[in-house]
Symmetry: D2
Subunit: 332 residues, 4 copies
């Protein structure tokens, strides 16, 4: 089968297509014919820093083409997506679960065929295409975990979404079906207009005002939001904290640039803030989220689909930050 | 001022209009000119069993017409509703909070003027009429507490609502804005049709099938619902439990008939069910719910409005169970 | 190897020793040389009602004597105990997890050798004997789940324990190390004296007073306890509820006799009680509990140890209810 | 009556004794004859930065000497302590609650007489002296909130306590009665020896090793602790995070020095840490904690008691950081 591999110290340009033997499922495992994968910022970081010869990408969807012994929950022909962590089924994350992260700790989904544990795989919502289902395991589960597991958002509360990348756009869609009020930022009026079409209640163009967190406070009668999905990192953390209500949550997500260091802890105490690092989520969270998406027939927002042969172009496109929503690679 | 009072051992027919001196607010209190009140099943029970000479009804909305010393959070002219429990502000319910239940432990809202502690009163959503706001403090807070505080419902989960009384209809509205799937029962196809217009995803006519809980199971692929708002009591409790998923919640609400006793605990253990008695909710729950209703501009469903002079007719109408949603008494 | 099996419709006397082929571990599985098992009331019920030819008993401890492919977390020679549910690792219980209950849904531990999934097995605390470790998977995890997962007990709160069976005695030990106040009931002054030696703060002899729940209320200044571990079932449920504070928890445990039906739901609502069916617990709960026991070097209370050949006598002894703590069968 | 007041911009030396009229309780208020107060680091910060002419100190205990109208829960002669926030009774903290912080937002306890809302006052445990009860409202409630409300610690888990100031020492006492494992740091072997006498399971002298967080990891088999009570601020935050397990909690407490900036958010994400700012706690937390202390007759650790006339010396002594536990001022 054809697959891609990262080469140590070679960066994005070192991502190369190779031919590997077809994998076979052992007991408790399934073989998946991958149809589509999607990219996350994490994948850029892994490609840049990578020291391992590994198949990249955590996110992918496809069809079960063989099952190993003792697999009862899935059958050949089932349309499935892989979980970000193959071994994190439910409950709290542990250091052991982290050793099963696809496309990082272990081989990922940018291949024609992959073998995964049957209990590290979920059925796709029936109405979704493979491309759509392939966008969910990392970005959407992260947003779900942050909003409903960590912060326990309820209708009428407010979430602040930073930018229009994968996590923020699907976060906007999930918050909207949950009756949660949404405020989203961007440097582009056009992207903000698209966000409003998806349901955004408030929009802030952060290029128009240095202290754009004041706009967020104004939109919440000075109280601040209940939750920030903080994907920006140290450049925005101080502003995110200032835009959050007393007792509110700031969830830190994804690869955050080093440097800056505005994260002074003192405001956290007087304002009783809660900062939590969220590292994707469990299989049960993916299942719960899929059920919610299916009830409302939400279609994940795909910005662009690349062919399997153009995987490196997909990485470069994500790097450009021109996208709104998700960048997908069709596999077969 | 004019008011109604319950007479000991006199039942519904003993509810009589009387003239009492105008009340005056002390320190920390406000005087409210009541504009509308609403009825709950609880009020029937209190009238029937009542041993106290008390002003009835927990639910009412009106205008602040005077404030006592040290009141800073409210001003004359504010449009407000009273909380069911004047002293339960936030956190867990206690026996002490229960001693402040309007229209039961202490005087209620069926009067032209009432005095309440300023921190036992909330501002009404601006877009609501007094009649609408008067429907919320008991039934809607009960539904909110059950769904979001006790069961922590999330989008994509399923709630079962029994009948089309006050709690079930506003529960349907709240679940709908929260992206929660709803199944509702009634003996009337017409009422079920109205429920569908309000957003009900599944409907069950319980007159058509003795074991109507099977219909609920069928609507959930055999798994059962995540939560039942159990307003029916012992006649329905066994069926409600059978219609709930492993690990799910059955919230017991309101006045439940004595007798029967189908509540065998054994199925609770093998199916890990959780039964919780919910007794309305706190002021913070009322505020949180109002914020959610306001974001989506939900209008509570009023079945019929009676004049102040026809209060006893309103009681009789509620008793008939012909209503869909809430029964209101306009005060002035 | 030697093992016992239940015979359909044969009751306790039908439990017979048989010779079966030695089992072999597959991928992800371990082979355990069982050293000790313990009995729970559940096992009496399964033996009486049993329709399946099954190896009984959920609880057992022993030594790993072989490991299958892909097992990295355990090695030959490890001292281990089996989890009650082989597939419930963490998070919430599901119907699927219930299909892995040892000695009920699948073969149990009353055998010289058993094969279990490696992730359905935990290391024993080093200071415990096999007999002690064999008492924990069902009764102790049930008590832990009820007290710390469901009720979230904190130091200074009060738990009511009914009788001196396996769940109540280990519940007393666990509550004591957690700084929780304990009240325990028995019909025997001698057993109550032993309970006091184990740390019981209050004792109630329920043969001395029909309304012994009043004694419990007196011991809590009339407020009631925060939690009842309700192992008695319908005979005691009404009293347990009356002995619980407003907003408190009653956790229903184990096999509860059918019949009676004192479980009137109405007091639940006015007193905002929470009834939860607890069905043992997950592997993570067993691990967390072992860590707590180990920190305080708690030794589970064993009433009597039977030889492997006398397994039926052990059943009969448990049935007599003469025990205080756990009944153990030594296997080899 | 005699009291102290802070003078704007005058620092600790500007704290001066003055004579003010005796206060009188209004409706819902009580007058307390203060017997003892205690100091917290916060009080140093307020004195240094203070811009208001205010009576300092949040913590105090005394006797009720008069009650206003409508006060039913307290009587003359009751031995009481004031809550840190007069208006935060239960539930989540809000910006409004913060406006009632004694000795900061409003007048505090360093006076012979104070008037407080009756529901902002709690009864002292009967076995405690006024000096002991005066140590609890700020430091001990903070430790309770962090350990049992935020982190939900259970027996067998591990908490890291930094230094031997007021929060850490009472945190050690509270964790010990809860069966929680404790690791404490100090620069003094003598103080660590005292901590071991109070129940500390592990001790770390941070002067002996630059990377003392490795000692903490070694004491937890490399996993890290479940919770850090982070009182040190930016100098220690990086080490505290490194010493915490995947998914664990770091609770930020008290006045944290500005500057440094080791709070890099990235480790939070990969290790799924949770940082929470805890700002003391509610009245219900103080009551719950008192109940726990009373069950185990814990005596808070008082380092030194100063006379009312020597209040400034008490401030200077706290500033020296020579203390172990609490610094108290006897009022009368």
């Amino acid at each position: 089968m054809k697959t891609y591999q990262l080469a140590p110290d070679a960066g994005i340009d070192g991502i190369a297509q190779v031919e590997l033997p077809d994998p076979e499922p052992g007991a408790g495992e399934v073989l998946i014919g991958v149809r589509a994968t999607s990219l996350n910022y994490r994948d850029l970081g892994i490609a840049r820093r990578g020291q391992q010869k590994i198949i990249p990408l955590s996110d992918g969807a496809g069809e079960v083409i063989a099952v190993g012994d003792r697999v009862t929950q899935l059958s050949v022909g089932d349309r499935v997506a892989g979980c970000f962590f193959s071994t994190w089924h439910d409950g709290a994350i542990t250091a052991e679960h982290q050793q099963s992260a696809l496309g990082g700790a272990v081989d990922g989904m940018l291949a024609q065929q992959v073998v995964l544990p049957a209990d590290g795989v979920v059925r796709m919502p029936a109405y979704m295409s493979y491309e759509e289902a392939a966008t969910l395991p990392c970005a959407a589960v992260t947003a779900w975990n942050a909003m409903f597991e960590q912060a326990g958002l309820r209708p009428g509360q407010t979430v602040l979404l930073l930018g229009t990348g994968g996590v923020s756009v699907v976060g906007l869609q999930l918050a909207t079906i949950a009756g949660v009020r949404t405020i989203i930022t961007s440097s582009s009026h056009e992207k903000l207009a698209r966000a409003r079409e998806l349901g955004a209640d408030g929009t802030v163009n952060y290029t128009e005002r240095e202290d754009w967190e004041r706009d967020v406070l104004d939109l919440t009668d000075g109280h601040g939001v209940d939750l920030v999905l903080e994907v920006g990192g140290e450049e925005t953390l101080g502003k995110s904290m200032a835009a959050t209500r007393v007792g509110g949550d700031v969830v830190l997500i994804g690869r955050i640039a080093s440097g800056g260091g505005q994260g002074q802890p003192w405001p956290m105490v007087v304002r009783s803030l809660n900062l939590t690092g969220v590292y994707v989520g469990s299989r049960v969270m993916l299942e719960d989220m899929n059920r919610a998406l299916a009830l409302h027939e939400v279609h994940p927002v795909i910005d662009r689909v690349f062919d399997f042969g153009d995987a490196v172009d997909a990485y470069r496109y994500l790097e450009s930050q021109a996208h709104f929503g998700k960048v997908v690679i069709r596999v077969q």
